[in-house]
Structures are given as C-alpha cells and as structure tokens.
Symmetry: C2
Subunit: 431 residues, 2 copies
Amino acid sequence: MERVKGFRDFYPDDMAVREKIFGECERWSRIFGFRKIDFPSVEYREIYKIKSGEELAQQSFSFNDKNGREIALLPEATPTVVRMLTARKDLPRPLKWYSIAKFWRYEEPQAGRFREFYQLNADIFGPDSAESDAEVIMLAMKILDSVGLETRYQIRINSREIMQGMLENLGCTNTGRALHIIDGMHKQELDRFRNEILELLPLGDDSRTFLGLLETPIEIEQVESIIGSSGKLFNGLEERIGRLIQTVKLCKKSSRSSIGIDFSVVRGLAYYTGVVFEAFDVDGEYRAILGGGRYDRLASSFTGDAIPAVGFGMGDAVIELVMKKYGEWSPGRSSTAFYLCRSADITIEETVDLVSKLRDNGMECIYDLSSRSLASQLKDASKNNCSFAIILGLNERKTGTLSVKNLTTGVQESVSISNSIDYLRNLRNAV
Amino acid sequence: MERVKGFRDFYPDDMAVREKIFGECERWSRIFGFRKIDFPSVEYREIYKIKSGEELAQQSFSFNDKNGREIALLPEATPTVVRMLTARKDLPRPLKWYSIAKFWRYEEPQAGRFREFYQLNADIFGPDSAESDAEVIMLAMKILDSVGLETRYQIRINSREIMQGMLENLGCTNTGRALHIIDGMHKQELDRFRNEILELLPLGDDSRTFLGLLETPIEIEQVESIIGSSGKLFNGLEERIGRLIQTVKLCKKSSRSSIGIDFSVVRGLAYYTGVVFEAFDVDGEYRAILGGGRYDRLASSFTGDAIPAVGFGMGDAVIELVMKKYGEWSPGRSSTAFYLCRSADITIEETVDLVSKLRDNGMECIYDLSSRSLASQLKDASKNNCSFAIILGLNERKTGTLSVKNLTTGVQESVSISNSIDYLRNLRNAV
C-alpha cells in the first residue's frame, strides 16, 4: 500500500508548523474583521476556462461525473469565491471573506510545490480604494510577521494599470503578450528576456528606461525622481502612481518589514486589473511565499455586474521552507502535559475518575491503557514527552494526596487532592 | 456558473455551527492526549477493495491518473490512517491520533448526507483493553456533551465477538451474512427482517430469544438476568461480556449521557473485530451521529503485522441536524467587536495608525475602506453587527481621547487614548 505520488502524509511532528501557520492566519483574519467561508472541493471545469487561463485548467485534476460532465478538483479559490459572491447579491458589501482550503494541481512535484496543498485566501469585495488594497496586504504582512519572518521577507508591489499605461505610452501594440513575457522574466536568462520583450517595443531611450525599471525594484521615496527621469513613460499615470504610493505608505504603518515597488511583478493569472503583489524571502531563494491583487472584472465575467475585488492567496509549502530556513521554527514534539500513573493497588475505575476530573478541568492528561507496571508507566510518560507525571498509589490514597513529578527536573512534590486542580493548572501554565 | 450537485457552499453565517463542532473536537482530542495528523485526499482505489467492502469502493469518486492508475477521493479515513501507521513501524505505541478532513461519497444527497463532508477521526493503536475501548467512546461523549447535546443522545454499544459467539452458539453457519442482515435491520420492515434472519437460524427458543435481544436495547444492570434467561446463547462469552460491561462502566464515569447495550448495532464496515458503537439522538430521528469500533486485523491485511486498533468517526452533517433540533444552536451572526469611525477631518493615515495599534493588541477592528461620511460609517458598523463604534474626530484629537459608543445600548463614553487599550479590552471581554 503506497501513497499517491506528489502527495504528503503529515505525522503529528509534521503538523505543528502548519498548525502554527494557519493558526496565525485564523487569528489575524479575525482581528482584521474577515469572516470565514468554505466551499466544495470540486467545480465544473468550465469555470476555470473563463478567466484563470488555459494553463490552470490544464493542471487541474479532473474527471467526468456519472452524467459525463467534467468536474475538476479546485486548483485555486478565486473563481469559486466569486461564484459564491455573485450567487448572493443580497449580502451587504463591503464583504471581507477568508478561507483555508485544500487545492490540487497536476504539476511535477519540486521544492515548495506539491500536487496537493492548503491555501489561505482573503478577499475584500466592494470598495475600490488604496485602503482596501492596503488592508489585504497588511493582513498578509501581519501573518508573515507573526510566524517569525518579520524583516525576513519583502513585499513587491506593482499595478497592472500602470504597466498597461507605460506599455501604451511606449506604443506597444500587444500589451497582453508583453505582460506575459514580463511574468516569465525571472524564470529565464536575462538576455533572452530582453530580446523577447524588445521585439514588442520600439527602439529608443524610453524602451531602455522601461527595461531598466523592470530590472530594479525601487523604494517609494525614489519614485518622484524616477518619474522625472523617465521621459514620457509615466505620462497620464500620476493618479495611479499616487494610489500605489498611498497603498505602500499605509502598509508601512502596520509592519516594519520591507515593501517596495517592483515593475517586474505582474502575476500570471489573467484576471488581475489593478494592484498586484507578491512576498519573497529577502534572499529571493524561493518562489513567492504569497501573491495577490485586484480583480475588478472577474465577477462581471460571471454575471454582468462588476464588483470591485482585491485579495491574496498563500499556500503552506513555500512559507514552511522559509520558516525553516530562518530557523524560526523549532520542530519540537508536541506533547500532553500530564501522565497519570497508578500503582497496581489502584483500580482502573478510580484512575478514570481522577483522569475525568482533570480533563473536565481542561487539563491535558493521558494514562496507561494496558495495565502496565508503575515503572513502565513512568517510562511511557517520558517517551510521550509529558511534562509531569501524577502518581496515585496506596500511600497517596491513604493521605488524600497526589505525588507530582516534574519529568524535566526530576523534582517530586505532594499536593492534597482537594487543591490539585489549581496546583496542576499553575504547573502547566508555567511550562 | 453553478455549484456541483450534492455539494455545499458555506457563507459566514453557515460556518459558525461547524466551527463550534470541530472546535470542540480539537479541544477534547488534545485534552485526551490525541495528536493531530493529516493525509492526502486521494488514494489508489485498490486500498478500499481490501477491507472497506465493495459498497464503499463503488461510492467513491474516482478517476485515472496520467499513467492510467485508478485514484479515488477518500470515502473514509481508516484505510489511510492504517496505511500511515504501517509505514512507520518506528513510532512507539500506544499511538493516539486524530484528524479532521474532508471525504467524498457518490450517494444520493438527503437529510444529513451530502456528497462531501468533514469528519473527525480518532484512533488508538496498540493496547487491546476495555480502557482503550472506553477512551475513544469517552472522547466521543465529551464532544457531544460540549456542543450542548448532554443527555440528548445515547451511545449504543455492542461487540462483534459476542455477536459471532451467539450466532455460533445458535448453530448459524453463515455468520457474515447474518451480521450483514442485522446491520440492515432498521432500514426495513421488522417482519421482513425477522424472516430474513430466521432463514439462517435453527427453529427454536434460542433463536427467538436472540431475535428478542436484537429488538431491545438493554442497560448494563439488566445484563446478568438476561444472560440467566437466555439458555445457551451466551455460553463461553462470559469474559467478553465482562469486558463490554467494564467498558460501559468506565464511560459512565466521564459523562451523564446514556450508554447501553444494543445487539442490533454491528456496523456495516467489514473490518470491525471487537467493540462497535454508535450515537443516536434520543428520539432516534436521524441516522447515527457517529460510529466506531475495534478493528484489530486491518493493519495485518496491509502488512502481515497485527496492530490492535480502536477508533471512531463523526461527520458534520447529522450532528448539525441534531444540534439544530434541540435548539442548542443559535445561528446568530458572528461579528467583529470594534468599528473605527472617523470624521472627514481625520486623515486615512491617522486612522490606519490607530487601527493598527488596536489590532496589534489583539482587538478585532474594522474601519471604512471607502471614505464615506461619519453617519454612513455608523450605519455600516450596525449592519456589520459590531458591538462598539470607536469615533475619532477633531474634538477627540484635540483632547487626546476616543469616543466609544455601545451599539446595543446607545451609550457613548469618552476615554483617553493612552488608556484606551485596557478600556476596550474590558469592554470586549464583557460582551
């Protein structure tokens, strides 16, 4: 019996990092006032053909239902979330939704990429503003900051509208193709990229300036002087530049981590219309940790009504690599605080009475299920990485006490059963 | 764009009940010392043909991978968990594992049954004892008790070994078929069931006694007298009866809810070998809320090594129906505690500064993302069901204060910004 290729099993010691990641996702999403949704793991495959682009539709795991209709395992959340949005026009906007779900893509497994992954998605529907753009980016930054990556990553932000405007100012006639080439920029040799993009641009200083901008991330403080020395490139784009700068400024109020403009970030998916952004580890070693942007026209491609939308998605694979790289993750075994050991004189009924009392008071507690000797139980408690052994024997029963042994220090103390709950709670909270 | 048939969307107001259910599953599993695992949503389809029975294999959503190998979306957890177990013989036992995952079955959707559902699974590997049988049942009962169902459900418990023994004592030659008929007992007319099962049993008093036992759930206090008046039915089964009674006694130490013996509970899945149990709402209106049992021979069908195992699974659909039936569930809208309203004189930067400070202190807080009027913001705060509006205007800025309005009572108070975090935290905690 073997596991399907490209898929992962998670044993208890593997779970802790993912529990940490998505625990912070839950916590910060709620603090930011996002509300949780969930959705099927399957959609009719047509939904991906509209806007995700043929590549994603190709990568989906799909099969026919018993009526011969093609069904796909979700390769991404956005089309599904927009389907839910457009099915409920009665819900008052703005809506702030988040979800944590599994997705599947039929790609070759590699570092940071599996055929199955969990992903947080967070989206705001309704307002089209720098505040809403900043709101989702601030959420992304808060999550990265709280899994120990503060100042270890950078947000690279751009605007599809500014890119479109610059390409039009240059006289590029196939902006869609140009954006596609720019999206692939970092996946190939720089010279090859230059040749490819220059084929679509007129010869001249402006095109060279544009190429230079693609290759150099910039801080918002530099933007003014760069615009001044970029000829006609930014003509008519002042308002859009202003909004992008405003977005970055708001994000800087919420996090010390780096955020700057990177004109090479355009995002592959076809449906983005405004701001786009990605997060990378500061050394740029891995693929993007997360990515998102504004997609104001996706809802209207479903229903005719436009609904401004901005959001991001973050999978579990790359962030896990980055956390491990910076050592901000100690795998250490998760464990149960207490192990109740009993001597052979104590009945199992008496033991379960005490175990139940501890558990009903919220104390994590295990006990021996195989009637082993006291010595074996103490060994088992250590093997299970428990912090404390609680010992119940004839002597304890006679004196109405419990012996409590700290398994780290070896120190053993006695506590009266009537005070034991508070005593044990304090012990546990002090670990 | 439509949802796939038999699948469910969960909008924010639909999520709360499931968050409550699985929140309690997480909490009690940890208190009982179970550790979380996770696994792929797909397996090679062969795995279900071994032991789950042909029915489950038939109900699986399955498709061929690019190499033509048949892959199924998981219809249940147990074969996968046992695959993980047998792949890691190095892990010291006993192991207590739980998981919360999605499963899929191609069945006709009906009340309490969807084609996609979440399920808690909790299992203990290693010990074969009444304590371990009781441990998983006690966990199940604690979860049901804490979602408001205490005394509203009953656990019906039985033992496959006792059933096997009784059928052999009767001289039944096809015990597998007999158990299959008993499993279907409550899905058909009683007369029809009687005729079907009597075809496999010899005529006589013992068979009639057996039929009577199947039709009458009993309390453990009655067991002695029932055995006394059941002729040869229980011959040689004293030890197994003793263990079943011991299991029930231990469970009664942990919960006030009802638990009794029901010889008609045998569980459909082919792999159970010992104790089997199900939970039903007290009126018996719905299908089982949860079910489980001992399956000591499943691991050996994978690898040759026997590993004693006992566990249960609980889906989200039936428990949700039962919670709603007993009114132990108020759907009420989940909401964000604070809405920060600003007058037109206050800049967005100043607002985000304050919002970030509140959020960094763990305060759930939203604000207007569309530069609307103060009146609109207050209306929006109510529409979002926020508990408090925090108002920041020129007057507040001048005096270094915030105005805080309780949106339920309408009472408005003023607090100095320097004391605001503690003040707001107290407000929120008092809601």
